[in-house]
């Protein structure tokens, strides 16, 4: 975090791509600006009142042809820039399989992170260099936005919904973390530090954190405590779907739709079970709205997600 610079630090793969695009845009718009400013200057000098420059009729080609020419010219330039920007975005769309998954919860006015092994931190995030890291984020109150300028990444964090972002850090170091979406009184103080470490250091760091159960294990306990297992356990007398392997597959619904069982779907199944009823089952599952808070919800979702692994094994 050096004091004076014209260019932000770049510490992720995406940062390099964004910077390239940014430089391209700077060059192109700089050229257009110079052209316009240059023409303005030249015309203003040459055709100022009283100058001896010859005036008179505009050359014929300078009417429609030129007009059509620069209209199509700018249109093609715009399309080219769109293609470049779009392609850059699409390349970074999906995280690679097996990315390190860290859960982030935002609330007025702090960031809470939870690593796969249960390590927790507040207003700080430690990540290994060179590994793909996927952040699964939700907010407990208003909309926040997770912004790491050195990674050139930002993602709104929304209550009642999971949003994701992923990155591969390239440079060890400490970088600023900001909340970028205005979120109330102490919005400006809702920040922290992202520390990129060598993978060995990260492993050591994570192991040294006070060990807690991980999300999925806590979710498993909630699953029994809240009575979910009473219906969903294989031995249960109630006719309810088995959740092993449920996460990520396509589900046929009673009303004929088919949707993917992603995080949002699981979340909705818990809060508003009547909304998407699985085909072949009665809508008897009660809503857990108000009984589970955002943290519990994250744990339950993590548990259901972890069942995928068991089914695959």
């Amino acid at each position: 975090m050096n004091r004076f610079s014209l260019w932000p630090q770049a510490a992720s793969e995406q940062a390099a791509r964004v910077d390239l695009l940014f430089i391209g845009l700077l060059v192109i718009s700089g050229a257009i600006l110079l052209l316009v400013a240059g023409l303005l200057l030249v015309f203003c000098l040459r055709y100022r009142r009283g100058s001896s420059a010859p005036r008179g009729l505009l050359p014929g080609f300078l009417r429609r042809d030129v007009e059509i020419g620069w209209t199509t010219g700018t249109l093609f330039l715009a399309l080219f820039l769109f293609w470049w920007a779009g392609a850059t975005q699409l390349r970074a769309k999906d995280p690679p399989a097996g990315a390190l998954e860290i859960h982030v919860a935002a609330k007025q006015w702090m960031w809470k992170a939870r690593h796969p092994n249960g390590a927790r931190e507040i207003n700080a995030l430690h990540v290994p260099r060179g590994e793909a890291v996927r952040l699964v984020m939700t907010s407990q109150d208003v909309i926040h936005s997770f912004f790491v300028p050195a990674f050139r990444l930002k993602q709104d964090v929304i209550p009642g919904r999971f949003t994701e972002m992923w990155f591969r850090a390239t440079e060890p170091g400490e970088y600023r973390l900001f909340c970028a979406e205005f979120c109330g009184t102490d919005h400006a103080r809702m920040g922290g530090t992202v520390t990129v470490m060598q993978p060995e250091d990260y492993a050591r760091w994570a192991a040294a954190q006070p060990q807690e159960e991980n999300l999925a294990e806590e979710g498993a306990r909630l699953f029994t405590a809240l009575g979910c297992s009473g219906c969903h356990a294989p031995a249960s007398a109630v006719h309810a779907p088995l959740l092993a392997g449920a996460y990520g597959r396509m589900v046929h619904l009673a009303d004929g739709r088919t949707i993917r069982a992603d995080e949002a779907y699981i979340r909705d199944s818990i809060l508003q079970p009547k909304r998407d009823v699985v085909a072949g089952f009665e809508p008897i599952m009660p809503s857990f709205e108000g009984l589970v808070d955002q943290g519990d919800l994250q744990r339950l979702v993590a548990y259901v997600q972890s069942l995928r692994g068991e089914a695959a094994r």
Binding site: M1, R3, F4, P8, V18, L21, F22, L25, S29, I32, L33, V36, A37, L40, F43, C44, Y47, R48, R49, G50, A53, R55, L62, V66, E67, W70, T71, T74, A78, L81, F82, A85, G86, T88, Q89, L90, Q108, D141, V142, S145, F147, P149, R152, L153, K154, Q155, P159, G160, R161, R176, F178, E181, F182, G184, T185, H187, A188, R189, L271, E289
Partner: protein, 560 residues
């Protein structure tokens, strides 16, 4: 030279009994007037007050941001200051300023009409505006709001503890005033054009006002609706955006930006019109590519409705939706570029005079070009992800809306001041103010591009030290800018008493508004004008303007 003869037949100054300023006297004659010219002045008085109030918010922010720590304002006070600055400047200054001051005054004059189509509606819309302004003032006095002018949910509906409902009501009410004026302008343009004034003979300012009005009528109801939804949720607990009860907080953003992106064009389109009038008059040339200028305005107003999602690239919307909005945003940049090129080409082989309005116009073109080009950065999804919600965006929209629209407003006001008041402003001071505004603006807002790219988020009252140098530059520039905004108020006021009397057409311009005395009589024209040619006939079609003499130019028509 029949046109010029017609022009000479117009008296420079109306008699006291004719001039719209003196035909009736007394407070009631102003507050109950249905004369579009007087209503324009009523609007000018109200909007000047709002400009000061909104400006005070900006001053408070720039002082606070001089150092990284909180020194002048608490966190809440700062949040209220920027919210208030945004709400006032958007809805009580930028959106109304050019249409209801210059537009109200000039639209009937430019098309040869005696008044707007619905003079009483025009007066009512002023009163609605004042009522909305009173509500906004109440909001401020009661303690303010802290949601930002964007009122994002669920912050605004469930968490903010300021006077959200009062502020939302103020904006809601102001919308009706906007709609009333817009309907009035549309009908006037359709029905009251002088004989011979066909659509493609309309001055570009009229086209710009017309397109703006159409956008206002289509977009403002969406704002009204979304504000009502906020009301429903915050006041009556009806869940719409609250995720805990099945609502969708992001839905708000879609509705809000569906209005607010077109609103950006409501703020900038009128200035396109103003700049076209100024550039042609002071370059003594017909505008380059008139029909392309018209189509560009229409294209912008149409496609402007389809790009709102570019404000939501990081909101969690699907990448493919983002790409579609990105494409449309690039497409809408093209007509803006056409306008810049055409203004530039209008100067070619002209006879350019650097009076104050022309300096404003040239400054506008420069600043608008920078604002527009940085729009390309924001239309690029990956770059936008990095710079959205930072000072880069703050700089970008201030370049368009302050460097652009406000410069155009001052330029237009300077240009038409003699027509509105019958007095000439002091040219030297005006040129000085115009130059100062350009540089003051640059010093204030250019550093914001840099700090935004470096990662400085917006709406922060404390910030990491590495950004301080840019904030100091911006705050210092703001001092110059503030002086440049105040100076014209001083010399305009001065000119009302000591300014030289203006002739009917001091700039030898061709528009119909100059073919009547300065200030115009109550009925605008003593004899209804007829139009026999297109606008901007500053030189004969077969040759350019001479190098020195102002003639030959022909007015669009006259009272003959």
């Amino acid at each position: 030279m029949s046109g010029i003869t017609a022009e000479r037949a117009v008296p420079d100054r109306p008699s006291r009994a004719d001039s719209y300023l003196t035909v009736e006297t007394g407070l009631a004659s102003w507050l109950l007037t249905t004369d579009h010219k007087r209503i324009a002045l009523l609007y000018m008085a109200a909007i000047t007050v709002f400009f000061f109030v909104g400006g005070a918010g900006a001053v408070a922010m720039r002082i606070e941001l001089f150092t990284p720590q909180a020194d002048l304002l608490s966190a809440d006070a700062y949040n209220r200051a920027f919210t208030f600055h945004g709400v006032i400047m958007v809805w009580f200054f930028l959106i109304p300023s050019i249409p209801v001051i210059l537009g109200n005054f000039l639209l009937p004059l430019m098309i040869g009409a005696r008044d707007l189509a619905f003079p009483r509606l025009n007066l009512i819309s002023w009163y609605i505006f004042i009522a909305a302004g009173a509500l906004a003032a109440y909001t401020l006095l009661a303690g303010g709001v802290d949601t930002g002018w964007t009122f994002y949910t669920p912050l605004s509906t469930a968490f903010a503890n300021g006077h959200v409902l009062a502020a939302a009501t103020a904006v809601f009410v102001a919308g009706f005033s906007t709609i009333a004026s817009a309907v009035n302008f549309i009908v006037t343009t359709h029905l009251l054009r002088a004989p011979g004034l066909t659509w493609f003979r309309l001055p570009l300012f009229v086209w710009a006002l017309y397109a703006t009005s159409v956008v206002m009528v289509l977009a403002t109801p969406v704002l009204a609706m979304v504000l009502l939804l906020i009301f429903a949720e915050r006041a009556f607990g009806i869940p719409i955006f609250d995720p805990l009860r099945g609502g969708d907080p992001v839905l708000f953003q879609h509705l809000f930006w569906f209005y607010s992106h077109p609103a950006v064009y409501i703020m900038i389109l009128p200035s396109f019109g103003v700049i076209s009038e100024l550039v042609t008059c002071y370059a003594r040339r017909r505008v380059f590519g008139y029909s392309f200028m018209v189509y560009a305005i229409l294209w912008i107003s149409l496609v402007g409705f389809l790009v709102w999602g570019h404000h939501m690239f990081v909101s969690g919307q699907s990448v493919f939706a983002s790409l579609a909005f990105s494409l449309l945003s690039f497409v809408v940049a093209v007509p803006s570029a056409i306008k810049v090129f055409n203004w530039t080409a209008t100067l070619y082989r002209g006879q350019i005079v650097f009076d104050a309005p022309m300096i404003y116009a040239l400054g506008f073109i420069g600043l608008f070009t920078i604002g527009g080009l940085t729009g390309l950065f924001l239309a690029s999804v990956p770059v936008d992800v990095h710079v959205t919600d930072t000072y880069f965006v703050v700089a970008h929209f201030h370049y368009i809306m302050v460097g652009g629209a406000v410069s155009a407003f001052y330029g237009g006001l300077t240009f038409w001041w003699p027509k509105m008041t019958g007095r000439l402003y002091p040219e030297g001071w005006a040129r000085f103010a115009a130059v100062m505004m350009f540089f003051g603006f640059g010093f204030t807002f250019f550093p914001m591009f840099i700090m935004g790219f470096l990662g400085m988020p917006r709406r922060y009252h404390v910030y990491p030290e590495e950004f301080q140098v840019w904030h100091v530059l911006a705050s210092a520039g703001a001092v110059i800018l503030a002086a440049a905004y105040l100076l014209p108020m001083g010399y305009f006021a001065w000119s009302l008493v000591w300014g030289r009397r203006a002739s009917a057409n001091p700039w030898d311009a061709t528009g119909l508004e100059w073919q009547t005395s300065s200030p115009p009589p109550r009925e605008n024209f003593l004899v209804s004008p007829a139009v026999d040619r297109g606008p901007y006939d500053y030189h004969p079609a077969h040759t350019g303007p001479p190098s020195m003499e102002r003639e030959p130019h022909r007015p669009q028509g006259g009272q003959a």
